[in-house]
C-alpha cells in the first residue's frame, strides 16, 4: 500500500508540475493575474506530493519491505537503521527521487522567499523549474520507478554496496544534490530573464543568494566526498580525477565563476550575456554530472547504475534542457544591453580574469573527462585519462588565477591602478617568498611544486588578511576605530574574505598531501616496526570479530615519535558476506601537521603476518578546514541584507516562517 501511495503521489506531482510549467508562463505573457498567481500554490503542492512519495520509499526501506524491488536490491534486514535510510538514495532510482525532492524544495523556497520578486518574473522562474521537474518525473516513472514490486518476495535483500555503508557517504549525496539542484534556480532565473529580455542589478541581487546557497552545498559535498575517498578507499589519496568527482567539480568551477560575474552585473551593469551563459553552463554541468554517472556513458568506480536505455532518455532530456536554453540564449542574448565599459586593470577586469580561468579550467576538466568517450566514438582504443593529464593542465591554469586573486580585491572598479595595489602587497610578496624559500630548505628533495604551492597559499592568505586590515584601517586608526569599522564590514565582504582565506588553507593542505606524502607498503608480523615520516609504527597483531552485517579483521598499531607513544591505532578490514565484498576502514590520527594513516590488508604467511600500508600525509587536514571556512564564508554572505533589498516594498516580509510540512 505504501509503495502504491508513493507511486501515486509521484504521478500527481507530474501533473501538478505540468500545470506549473504552462499556465503561469502563459499568464505572464498575457498579463493574466490569476494564472500568474497559480505558480505559488502549485510549487508548494509539488513539494508536498514529492515529500509524501519520498517518505513512502523511506518507510519501505526502514521496514525492509521485500515485496519492492528497490528494497530487495539495496537493503538487508541486518543492516543498521542509518544505512537502511541512506540506502534510499544509495541507488539509482532512489537518488533520482531525492533529486526531484530537492528540486521541488527549491521551487517551494522560491515561492516562499521570493516575495521581493515581481510576480510575473517569479511565475516564469517557477515555470522553468517545473519544466525541469516534468522531465525528471517522466524519467523516474518511465525508466526508473523505485516503487516497482517483485512477483515473489525473497526472504532477504541483497544489501547496499558496502562501500556506501559509511556515515560520510550517507549525507554526501544529499549535500551534493543540494548543490547540483541548487544551480537550477540560477538557471531558471537566467531563462526567465532571457524570456523577459532584461538583466539588471536587481536580477543579479536576486540570483546571488540562491547561487551562493548552491555553491555552499556543492563545496561541502565535494569536500565530504573527498574526505570519504580519503578514509574509506584506503589509499591515502583524496582526489582521483574520477569522472564522478569531475562531474561535481565542473559545476563548482562554473558556479564559482557565476558568483563572481553576478557581482559585476550588480555593481557595474555589464557582462550580462556572459553571466546568463554561466548560469546556464553551471546547471548544464550539473545535469551532465547526472548523465555521466547514470547513463553508463563513462564507466568509473562510482557508477552504480549503468543502463543504456536510461542513457537515451537522459540524453534526450539534456538536448531539450541544455540545447533549448542555449538556443534561447543565441536568440535573445544579443538583445541584452550592456552598460559600463571598463579598463582591463580594474576590479571588473580581475573578476573577468577569474571567470576566464574558471571557465577554461572547467572546459579542461570536461575535455579530460570526455576524452575517452571521444576516442571510443571514433573507434579508438579504450583509454582512461588520469591524474597526470589533469595535474599538468589544471595546476598551471590555477597559478596565475591565484596570483591575480590576491590582487583583484585591491583594485578599484572601472579603472584600477596596478602600482598602488602592488605596493600594498609588497610585504605579502616578501612573506610568501620567505615561506617558499623556507619550504625549499626544509624539503630539498621534494617536488618543486610543493614550494610553489606553499608560496601561493601564503600569498593568497596574507593578501586576504591585508585587504581586511586595510579596510578597517588597522594600525592607521585607533584600535577602537578599527574595531568599529570591523563591525561595519558588510557580510558579503566577510564572505569573500573567508572564502579566499579558506582557499588559501585548502591550497596548503593539498600541497602538503600532494607533495610530501610518505608511503610504505610491507608485510608486518606482530612486533615489527617501520619508520614512516619520522614516526615509528609498531604492528601489535590482528584480531577477528563480527559487526552487525560484516566480519572484521582489526589490526592494532602503535605510533611513536622519539620513543614516546603518540597514539594507538586500530585499522579494520571489513568483509560483507552478502555481497562478498571487502572495505577498508583506515586508522587515521589527525594532527595539524599531518595525518598518520594505517591500513591492514590480507594475511600473509602463517605466523600472524599481514600486508600493511602506512602513510604520513602532511597538512592534509587543512584542506578540509579550508573547505569549512569557505562554506562558512558563503553562509555569512547569504545572510547579507543587501540581497533582500532593492525592491521598495515589503520591508517586514515574513521571511522567517517555515513552509508547512518542511
Amino acid at each position: 500500500m505504501t509503495a502504491e501511495l508513493g507511486h501515486f503521489t509521484l504521478v500527481l506531482a507530474l501533473f501538478v508540475a505540468i500545470i506549473q510549467a504552462s499556465l503561469p508562463l502563459i499568464g505572464a505573457a498575457r498579463n493574466y493575474a490569476p494564472w500568474i498567481a497559480l505558480s505559488k500554490p502549485t510549487a508548494y503542492c509539488q513539494f508536498v506530493l514529492v515529500a509524501i512519495s519520498f517518505a513512502s520509499l523511506t518507510h519501505l526501506h526502514m521496514v525492509s519491505d521485500f515485496s519492492v524491488l528497490n528494497v530487495v536490491q539495496n537493503s538487508h534486514t541486518a543492516k543498521p537503521m542509518l544505512y537502511k535510510i541512506a540506502g534510499v538514495w544509495g541507488n539509482h532510482e532512489g537518488s533520482l527521487l531525492l533529486w526531484v525532492q530537492i528540486l521541488s524544495l527549491f521551487g517551494a523556497a522560491v515561492a516562499l522567499f521570493g516575495a521581493n520578486l515581481p510576480p510575473a518574473f517569479r511565475s516564469r522562474v517557477l515555470a522553468v523549474q517545473a519544466m525541469i521537474a516534468v522531465g525528471f518525473y517522466l524519467f523516474i516513472l518511465l525508466t526508473s520507478n523505485p516503487f516497482e514490486r517483485v512477483e515473489f518476495p525473497p526472504l532477504n535483500g541483497r544489501d547496499l554496496n558496502p562501500l556506501l555503508q559509511d556515515p560520510g557517504l550517507a549525507i554526501h549525496p544529499p549535500m551534493l544534490y543540494l548543490g547540483y539542484v541548487g544551480f537550477s534556480i540560477a538557471f531558471s532565473f537566467a531563462i526567465a530573464a532571457l524570456i523577459e529580455g532584461r538583466v539588471d542589478a536587481a536580477w543579479a541581487r536576486w540570483v546571488r543568494p540562491w547561487t551562493l546557497a548552491a555553491w555552499m552545498f556543492l563545496t561541502g559535498g565535494i569536500a565530504l566526498g573527498s574526505w570519504w575517498a580519503y578514509y574509506e578507499l584506503g589509499w591515502g589519496g583524496w582526489w582521483f580525477w574520477d569522472p564522478v568527482e569531475n562531474a561535481s567539480f565542473m559545476p563548482w568551477l562554473a558556479g564559482t565563476a557565476l558568483l563572481h560575474s553576478a557581482v559585476v552585473v550588480e555593481k557595474r551593469d555589464t557582462l550580462k550575456g556572459w553571466t546568463i551563459l554561466l548560469a546556464i553552463i553551471a546547471f548544464s554541468m550539473s545535469l551532465l554530472g547526472t548523465f555521466l554517472v547514470r547513463s553508463g556513458v563513462l564507466t568509473s568506480v562510482h557508477a552504480f547504475a549503468t543502463d543504456p536505455a536510461r542513457g537515451v532518455f537522459i540524453l534526450a532530456l539534456l538536448i531539450i534542457v541544455i540545447g533549448g536554453s542555449l538556443a534561447l540564449f543565441a536568440w535573445r542574448g544579443p538583445q541584452l544591453k550592456s552598460g559600463g565599459l571598463f579598463q582591463p586593470i580594474s576590479r571588473e577586469g580581475a573578476l573577468l580574469f577569474n571567470n576566464l580561468g574558471m571557465t577554461v579550467a572547467a572546459a579542461a576538466v570536461l575535455l579530460g573527462t570526455l576524452y575517452p568517450l571521444f576516442l571510443d566514438a571514433i573507434g579508438g582504443p579504450k583509454v582512461s585519462v588520469g591524474p597526470p593529464f589533469f595535474d599538468s593542465v589544471f595546476i598551471p591554469l590555477m597559478i596565475p588565477m591565484i596570483i591575480a586573486m590576491a590582487i583583484g580585491p585591491f583594485l578599484n572598479w572601472k579603472r584600477g591602478d596596478l602600482i598602488p595595489a602592488l605596493t600594498r602587497l609588497k610585504m605579502v610578496f616578501l612573506l610568501s617568498m620567505v615561506a617558499g624559500a623556507a619550504t625549499w630548505a626544509a624539503e630539498m628533495d621534494g617536488p618543486f611544486m610543493g614550494v610553489i604551492g606553499i608560496a601561493l597559499a601564503v600569498w593568497l592568505g596574507a593578501s586576504t588578511l591585508t585587504e581586511l586590515a586595510s579596510r578597517i584601517h588597522l594600525f592607521r586608526a585607533s584600535p577602537a576605530e578599527s574595531l568599529r569599522r570591523l563591525g561595519r564590514v558588510p557580510r558579503a565582504t566577510w564572505g569573500m574574505t573567508l572564502a579566499h582565506f579558506g582557499l588559501a588553507l585548502a591550497i596548503a593542505g593539498m600541497t602538503g598531501a600532494g607533495s610530501w606524502k610518505v608511503e610504505s607498503i610491507q608485510t608486518m608480523k606482530p612486533g615489527d616496526m617501520v619508520n614512516v615520516g619520522g614516526y615509528e609504527f609498531t604492528f601489535d597483531g590482528a584480531e577477528q570479530s563480527k559487526g552487525p552485517n560484516y566480519n572484521i579483521v582489526a589490526g592494532k598499531f602503535t605510533a611513536r615519535k622519539d620513543g614516546k607513544v603518540v597514539v594507538n591505532m586500530l585499522a579494520e578490514k571489513r568483509t560483507y558476506p552478502v555481497r562478498s565484498m571487502p572495505t577498508t576502514e583506515a586508522a587515521i590520527h589527525t594532527m595539524l601537521s599531518g595525518d598518520l594513516y594505517a591500513v591492514i590488508g590480507d594475511p600473509e604467511g602463517d605466523d600472524g603476518g599481514y600486508v600493511t600500508r602506512i602513510y604520513f600525509n602532511p597538512l592534509v587536514v587543512w584542506m578540509w578546514i579550508g573547505a569549512i571556512v569557505m562554506v562558512l564564508g558563503g553562509a555569512i554572505s547569504v545572510t547579507d541584507v543587501r540581497h533582500r533589498i532593492g525592491v521598495p516594498h515589503r520591508r517586514h516580509a515574513p521571511a522567517n516562517t517555515k513552509p508547512a510540512g518542511a
Binding site: 543504456p308 542555449l326 538556443a327
Partner: protein, 183 residues
C-alpha cells in the same frame, strides 16, 4: 552580426558534444578490451573440488577440443541465473564446459552448490585465492572464456551466458573453430 555568432557558439559546441554522447551510448561500457584474446590460456593448476573428484584442472587440459571455461562461485547471484542455461548446454552435449570455482570462503560451498543445483562441468578447479582468476584477468563472476583446440583464448563473455548470446556469438564461433580444424 559578429556578436550573434558569439552568442550562437555555445549551442554549436553543445551540438558537437551531443553527437559524441549519442555515439557513446551505442557502445556498451561493459565490453572491456580483452588483452588475452588470441593469446594462449595462462598457465594455471588448480585442485579439484572437495568430494567431487581429485582430477583438478590445469591449462594443459584445454588442448585438443574447443572448450568453455566458466568462472563461477556459489556466492554469485548472477551465476545462479546463468546456471540452468549451462545445464541445458550440458544436456545437448555441444561443448565441454570446465569450471573455475572462484573465491569460496568455505571449501564445501562450491561442491554443495553443484550438488544442489546440478553440475554442468567436466572439470572443475577450486580457486579460493584468485590465482587463476587473476591470470585470466577476470573482472567479476560469471565470466566465460572460449578456448580453441590449441588452447588459445578466442572470446571472453562477461556476465551470464543466455540463449541470445549463445545463438548470436558463442555457438557460431564454436562451429567456425571446429570447421577450421576440419579443413
Amino acid at each position: 552580426m559578429k556578436s550573434r555568432i558569439l552568442f550562437l557558439a555555445p549551442l554549436l559546441v553543445f551540438a558537437v558534444l551531443v553527437g559524441y554522447f549519442a555515439v557513446g551510448l551505442t557502445k556498451d561500457p561493459r565490453i572491456l578490451p580483452n588483452m588475452l584474446k588470441g593469446q594462449p590460456v595462462p598457465e594455471f593448476s588448480l585442485a579439484g573440488l572437495q568430494g567431487r573428484d581429485d582430477k583438478g584442472f590445469k591449462n594443459t587440459d584445454l588442448i585438443g577440443d574447443v572448450t568453455l571455461v566458466n568462472v563461477f562461485g556459489s556466492w554469485c547471484v548472477a551465476c545462479r541465473v546463468e546456471h540452468p542455461f549451462l545445464m541445458t548446454l550440458k544436456e545437448k552435449k555441444l561443448v565441454p564446459i570446465h569450471g573455475i570455482d572462484w573465491r569460496e570462503e568455505d571449501i564445501t560451498a562450491g561442491p554443495d552448490w553443484l550438488k544442489r543445483f546440478g553440475d554442468p562441468y567436466t572439470l572443475v578447479g577450486a580457486d579460493p585465492k584468485s590465482h587463476a582468476a587473476i591470470a585470466f584477468g577476470v573482472t567479476g563472476a560469471p565470466e566465460t572464456f572460449l578456448v580453441d583446440q590449441k588452447g588459445v583464448i578466442r572470446y571472453k563473455h562477461i556476465g551470464p551466458i543466455n540463449q541470445k548470446s549463445w545463438n548470436e556469438i558463442i555457438h557460431p564461433l564454436i562451429k567456425k573453430l571446429r570447421e577450421e580444424k576440419g579443413s
